[in-house]
Every structure is written in C-alpha cells, then in structure tokens.
C-alpha cells in the first residue's frame, strides 16, 4: 500500500471512529439535557417557587424560567441529536446549550459557588467528544455572559458600579485553565486514536496480504489436486481397461480349456488339458494379484458391501482348499470359537481373497495340519470379526516378520525357489484389510509354525430374507425346448463368440451373433429377439449406447443381459441405468445364465 493511500485510509478510519464517538456523545448529552431541565424545575420549586408582595404571592419568575427558558435552551440541541446525530451542528448546539443552561442554573440556585461547579463539570463532559473545538462555544458563551452583564449590570458580576477588565479575567481565567487541561487531554486522545488507526490499517493490510497468499496457495493446491485427480482417473481407467483386456482373452483360454476337458477321450490329452487349465487358473490369479496391487497403489481399490455370512465364507474357502490340502496330505479344519455370527455387511469377494491367500500360504509351509479359527465380538453396535489361519510349518523369525507384509518380499530367495509366488499376496491382503479399516498380523516363532490373523469391524446386515437359494444345476440339452427363446449375442471378440456359442449349445440353443452394438440394432429391426447377450466394450457402438438406442425403439423389447469382465458396482449401475435387465460376469457361468433364462419364462 502506498503512503498516500495509507494516509487516506487512516484519515477515513479516524473520521469513522470520530463519527461514532460524536454520535455516542450526542446520545448521552440528549438524556443529560433532559435530566438537567427536570432538575432545573425541581430546583426552582424548592428554592424559589413564589414571589411575594406583602401578603400576596404569585409564581416566581424563576419557576417560569426553569420551565420555559430551560425548555427552549435544551430543545434545539436535543432536536439536532435526532436529525443530525454526530454532526458538528449538534455538537456545537450541545456545547452552547450546556453552558446556557449552566448560566440559568446558577441564577436559579442563587449564584452559589457550588452552582459554578456545574460549569467545570460541563466542560469536562464536553471533552467526551474528543474534539477541542467543542469547547469554543462553551467558553465564548461564558465570556459573553460576563461581558454583557458586566456592561449592563456590573453590580451583578463584580459588585461594583463599573466593570473592570481584570475582574473579567479573574473569572475567565478559571475557565481557560480548565480548557487548557481539557485541550491537552483531547489532543492526546486524538493522537491515541491516530495510533490505533495506523495500527489497524497496517494490520488490515497485512491481513489482506496474507489472504492473497492463502488464496494463491489454495489455487495452486487446487490445481495440483486437479492434476493429481486427473492422473488418478487416468490410472484407474487404465487399470480397468487392463483388467478387461487381460480377462477377455483369459476368459477365452479358460472357457475353451473347460470345453476341451468335456470333449476329450484320450487320457493323455485329458491330463495335458488339465495342466493347461491349472496353469491358466494360476496365470489368472497372478494377473488378478498384479491388478489388485496396482489398484491399491493408485488408491482406487473399491469395496462392495453386501449381506455376507462369515461362516459360509469360511466354509467356501475350506471346500475350495480342501482338495489341494488333501493332495498335499495336510489336514485342514475350521472352527467357530465364539457364538453364532449373524449376517453382516461386507465385501465377500475380498474377504475370501484374503482368507484364500492366507490358507494357500499355510498349505505351502505346513507339514501336517492347518486350522482356520474364526470368531466375532459385538462392540458398540459393530461386529469385530477375527479369522486366524494356523499352520505347523517352519515358523518365521522376528526379523523376517517385519518385512513380510511389504510388497515383493518373501522370507528369502530359497523360499521363492521352493514355494514360488510373486511376494504380492500378503501385501495385497494387508492393503485389502487396511482398506476395510481392519488389522492384519502374525504370531510366530521359528520352528513352531505360524498364526496369520486379520480382524475387521463390520456392521450387522438389515434383517431380510435368507442369503442364498440352494444351488441346483439347470444345464440340460433339452433346456431350449422347455424355454424356447430367440437369443442374439453382441460380442466383438471372435474367440468369445465361439465360446459363447458352444456354451449355449449345451442348453440346446442356436444363437445369432453380431460384432457390435450398431449391428445389434440393425439385426433387431429385421427380427425379433427374446434375449440379447450384450458385451460392453465393442467398437463402433458399445453395449450401453446400443441398449439406450434399443430402448427408444417402438418394438417389442428384448430382455438384455449385460456380459462383462468388470465386477465393479458402478459398471453394473451404468448397465441398469441404460436399460439392461440383467448382468453376468465373464467367464460366463452357464448354470447362472440358465437360471436367468429359466426365470424369463416363469
């Protein structure tokens, strides 16, 4: 801020403050003048209510003066405090009014010396305006009073018939003496006000400077945040695309492998295909781990909360791993060490992922048995679920425990050679459990096995119907006869087209195939289809766009089932919002698809 600008602001500040001081002083004097007027009347009533002529009396002129003259004296200043508050006019009027009333009061009180204290008191009160010029009218009026009375009624002032200048000075000297003190005090007050104004303006300037800096920094921060969020979004899209791009051919590989398994008769070929399938499954698991790890790194790992049954999750994992355990000659068990656990809200897929990982590790390192223990505790409306996987393997030293949950780490290179693995599993488990707000850990001693555990806090699920319907297989080559449906597949990938055709032929369906959403629209304009299996990512027109276009057409609407490799809830919602009726994941589970087709007819 320039010096001129600063000075202007200081002056403005002082003027504003002075205005407030003047208005406050006006208000105070308004009430003081009213009180003084009443006091004057009471004084006249008390001291000189009547004048006498012998036996006759009448109202004393003092009483009339106190009412009428006193009223006139206070009226104009009071009116100005209402119509011109804080102005110089009201200030000067009050100064004059106070002194004139003082002169009247001195008369009413018989000129007693005590009455003269009123003058000194008034001057001191006037100093509350913090302006020295307010004393001028008051001092001038005292001077005029003495001069006029000194000239016309000298005996009333000096007790002698002629006026003498030095007597006037004697009377005026006391007033000027007080004026001098008040002026000094007022000027000091004005200096203080200036100092306050200067400090205030400097502070305001500093504050504005800081405000500007904060705004600049905030703007920079927001820009940086925007850039970071864009980068994150790009990363998330990339990962989503990668997941799709990898899963799609893997889906084809694994599906073809399953189909091959069903059609082979040569036992050697059966064994080869079995190895192929296992390798493919392993590869898919590794790819999933890498993708999950990347999502965690990017902070885009999302959980999906649904109603889950912890006991069912543990049982599912047990059944899934018991085959492998049996091959390794390891005894695997599971046990609930607390009371029955109610249905909770959680991500079943991720919880299974963690537990599978821990059990897999335990099976790798265990010699005889693996125990899965689980329990829950109700704490403040939540359920803390603890699951522990205990093995009797080689155990882990304290030193190695420190690095175990870190990415890419394994206990040592020999472990990698002996047991394989990428070293991502435990870090992914930790990432998942951390995302759930839980805790994962390990208790172990070298040579005494290990206990891997994790704890998560989950809300109880709302009371509803039972979680699962019993699984029954509907796969039957006569299925199509029972449920005659015309089915169209919209899929750009030729391998997936072949796989899907083969799968549906197991149900007895001969399906039509198009390569993208645009061809699907053209096809349904020629023929009616009961069901469309709609892939999502297709060239020219994807599944969502095609569905929106189909739903706008005035035709008998087909049942549209989204087929996608994505497992995210938001992708599902996009499909339903576009108008799709159902959703199935790749690789297509034929029994699940059959259930959907079955439900259409029923």
């Amino acid at each position: 801020m320039g010096q001129l600008e600063k000075e202007k602001q200081i002056q403005d500040f002082i003027e504003r403050e002075q205005k407030i001081v003047s208005q406050n002083a006006d208000r105070s004097f308004r009430y003081l003048l009213m009180i003084e007027w009443v006091f004057g009347i009471v004084t006249a009533l008390f001291i000189s209510p009547k004048t006498w002529s012998g036996q006759m009396s009448e109202v004393h002129l003092h009483l009339w003066s106190s009412i009428l003259l006193g009223g006139i004296i206070v009226s104009f200043p009071i009116i100005l405090t209402y119509i011109r508050p804080g102005s110089k006019a009201s200030m000067y009027a009050i100064s004059s009014g106070q002194m004139l009333f003082g002169a009247l009061l001195i008369h009413l009180m018989g000129g007693r010396i005590e009455a003269h204290f009123y003058i000194f008191g008034t001057l001191a009160f006037l100093a509350t305006y913090r302006r020295w010029d307010v004393l001028i009218p008051a001092t001038v009026i005292i001077a005029i009073d003495h001069i006029i009375r000194g000239i016309y009624w000298p005996q009333s002032v000096y007790g002698v018939l002629t006026g003498q200048e030095w007597r006037f000075l004697e009377h005026a000297a006391w007033v000027l003496f007080e004026d001098a003190f008040l002026v000094v005090s007022i000027i000091q007050g004005q200096k203080d006000m200036r100092r306050i104004a200067t400090t205030s303006i400097e502070l305001k300037d500093l504050q504005q400077g800081l405000q500007r800096k904060v705004e600049e920094r905030t703007s920079e921060y927001l820009k940086a945040k925007e850039v970071a969020e864009e980068a994150l979004e790009v990363k998330a899209k990339f990962l989503a695309n990668m997941s799709h791009e990898i899963r799609t051919p893997m889906n084809a590989v694994l599906s073809c492998t399953s189909l091959l398994q069903d059609n082979l008769k040569n036992s050697e070929n059966i064994e080869l295909v079995s190895i192929l399938k296992k390798s493919g499954d392993n590869l898919l698991n590794i790819i999933d781990d890498i993708l999950d790890f990347s999502k965690m790194e990017a902070g885009v790992l999302k959980l999906e909360f649904k109603r889950i049954d912890i006991e069912e999750i543990v049982k599912d994992v047990f059944h899934l791993m018991s085959g492998k355990a049996s091959l390794l000659g390891i005894n695997i068990n599971y046990k609930n060490t607390s009371s029955s656990i109610p249905l909770l809200m959680g991500d079943e897929y991720r919880l299974k992922q963690v537990l599978i990982n821990l059990v897999n590790n335990a099976l790798k390192f265990s010699s005889k048995k693996v125990d899965i223990l689980y329990e829950s505790k109700k704490i403040n409306g939540f359920f803390e679920v603890s699951i522990s996987v205990i093995d009797d393997g080689i155990g882990i030293s304290n030193k190695n425990q420190e690095v175990l949950f870190k990415e890419f780490s394994q206990v040592d290179a020999s472990t990698t050679r002996k047991f394989g693995g990428t070293g991502l599993g435990l870090s992914i488990c930790k990432g998942i459990v951390d995302t759930m707000g839980g805790e994962i850990g390990l208790q172990s001693e070298e040579g005494k096995g290990a206990c891997f555990y994790f704890k998560v806090k989950l809300k109880p699920a709302p009371i509803n119907e039972s979680l699962k319907e019993p699984e029954t297989s509907l796969i039957d080559e006569n299925f199509a006869q029972k449920h005659p449906l015309k089915i169209l597949l919209a899929e750009d990938n030729q391998v997936n087209q072949v796989v899907a055709k083969k799968l549906l032929s197991k149900l007895g369906y001969q399906i039509d195939i198009v390569n993208n959403g645009k061809e699907a629209i053209e096809k349904i304009e020629e023929l009616h289809y009961d069901v469309i299996l709609m892939d999502q990512h297709m060239p020219e027109m994807d599944g969502v766009e095609a569905t929106i276009a189909i739903r706008k057409k005035k035709i008998k609407q087909p049942y549209i089932i989204a087929v996608t490799a994505s497992v995210l809830e938001e992708d599902k919602q996009k499909c339903f919002q576009a108008g799709m009726d159902h959703f199935i994941e790749k690789p297509i589970k034929l029994n699940y698809l059959a259930k959907i087709l079955n439900s259409l007819n029923s």
């Binding site: 000189s48 002529s53 012998g54 036996q55 104009f76 000129g111 016309y152």
Partner: protein, 204 residues
C-alpha cells in the same frame, strides 16, 4: 430534501437563539432590578420599640417567604464574623395579621435563629415597618452609635444572588477599618407590601 432540512435547521436555530436572548434578558433584567428603598430615616427613629444602647445598630427587614432574602441573610452571616461587638444586629420579620405565627417561622426564620448575638423580632403589628418605612425585603439600615444613618440598602448584588455587593463590602470595610460606607445602595428582594397595602397600614 437536504436543502429543505438545512433551511429548517437554520430557521429553528434563529428562533432558538432569539428565544434564549429574550428569555435571558427578561431574567437578567428581573434579577438586576432593585426594589424601592422607601422613605429614609437619616437618624434612628425614636418611635422604634427597639432599644438603642450605646452601640451601632444594624437592622434588616425580612419577608419570611422572600426567596431573594435567603441570599441577604447568608450575606449577613458573612458580615457577622467581622462584628467584634461593634454593632447590635436586629432582624425584623414582616408578619401580616392575616397569618398566624407559623407563617413567620419559615426557613428564613430558621436561618436567622442560628446567627450569634442577633435579636429576632416579629413585627406583628407592623410598628417597626411603619417606623422605618422599608419597602423591600432584605433592606438593611446601619446606624452609628450616635444614631446617625451610615448606610441603607441591600447586601446582595442582585435578586437572590450571593456574592460581592456594594452594601456588604461597605459594611465590612466600616467594621474592619472604620471606612465610611456610601449612604445608600440597591436592595434586591420581594416587596413588603402589595399595592394599596402600604396606605392601609399607614392609616391604621
């Protein structure tokens, strides 16, 4: 609108200023208008019932309810310390027959009662008033021990106002230094008679 307001304020100020001027002039005029002295006895009137001993005498006539005479009595109280047995002081209270004695026993009576070595009189039959002929409350007569009138007039400088006055200063100077006072001066107070009452009194 602002112009009209300014004009209104100026008019109001003028009226205010004029009103105060007139009011104060009236008040000051009243305050400084002396009362009548009446006939002046240049020697002690022998018909007075107050005994004249071989000492100077100060006599003051007071209307019991005259507010201006409160100042006169207060000034008298400032003269008395200079007395030193040089004068006899008499305060004569006007008492018309219309009122009983309680009417005389006003606050001025109570003030006068406190003065040391001072004689209070209630002029119930107006004998002393007829003898000395004062017309205004607060009128003071100072006679020398030779019964010669030294001073007649008031001892205040205006109605109801205490402070320096010709009469008070003159009396004090005479008491202290023997300086001869001016023979007469102004007196400020209520009239001791209403119109016609003096004539009735003289005839009685």
């Amino acid at each position: 609108m602002l112009y009209k307001k300014d004009f209104f304020i100026k008019v109001l100020f003028s009226v205010w200023f004029f009103g105060i001027g007139v009011g104060l002039y009236q008040l000051w005029s009243y305050m400084n208008t002396p009362g009548e002295l009446g006939e002046i006895p240049y020697f002690w009137p022998e018909s007075s019932q107050i005994e004249f001993q071989d000492k100077a005498k100060l006599v003051i006539f007071v209307h019991p309810h005259c507010p201006c005479s409160r100042a006169s009595l207060n000034e008298l109280s400032r003269i008395l310390p200079h007395n030193q047995e040089k004068i006899d002081v008499h305060i004569i209270f006007y008492h018309p027959s219309k009122f009983d004695l309680n009417w005389v026993h006003s606050d001025l009576w109570e003030i006068a009662k406190t003065f040391p070595k001072t004689t209070l009189h209630i002029d119930s039959k107006s004998h002393e008033i007829k003898t000395f002929s004062p017309k205004t409350s607060g009128q003071v007569y100072l006679f020398s021990r030779d019964k010669e009138l030294l001073y007649v007039g008031g001892i205040t400088n205006s109605r109801g106002h205490e402070g320096t006055s010709i009469g008070k200063d003159a009396i004090i100077n005479w008491l202290k230094e023997g300086k001869k006072p001016p023979q007469k001066s102004f007196v400020f107070g209520c009239s001791l008679f209403h119109s016609g009452e003096k004539e009735i009194l003289e005839k009685s």
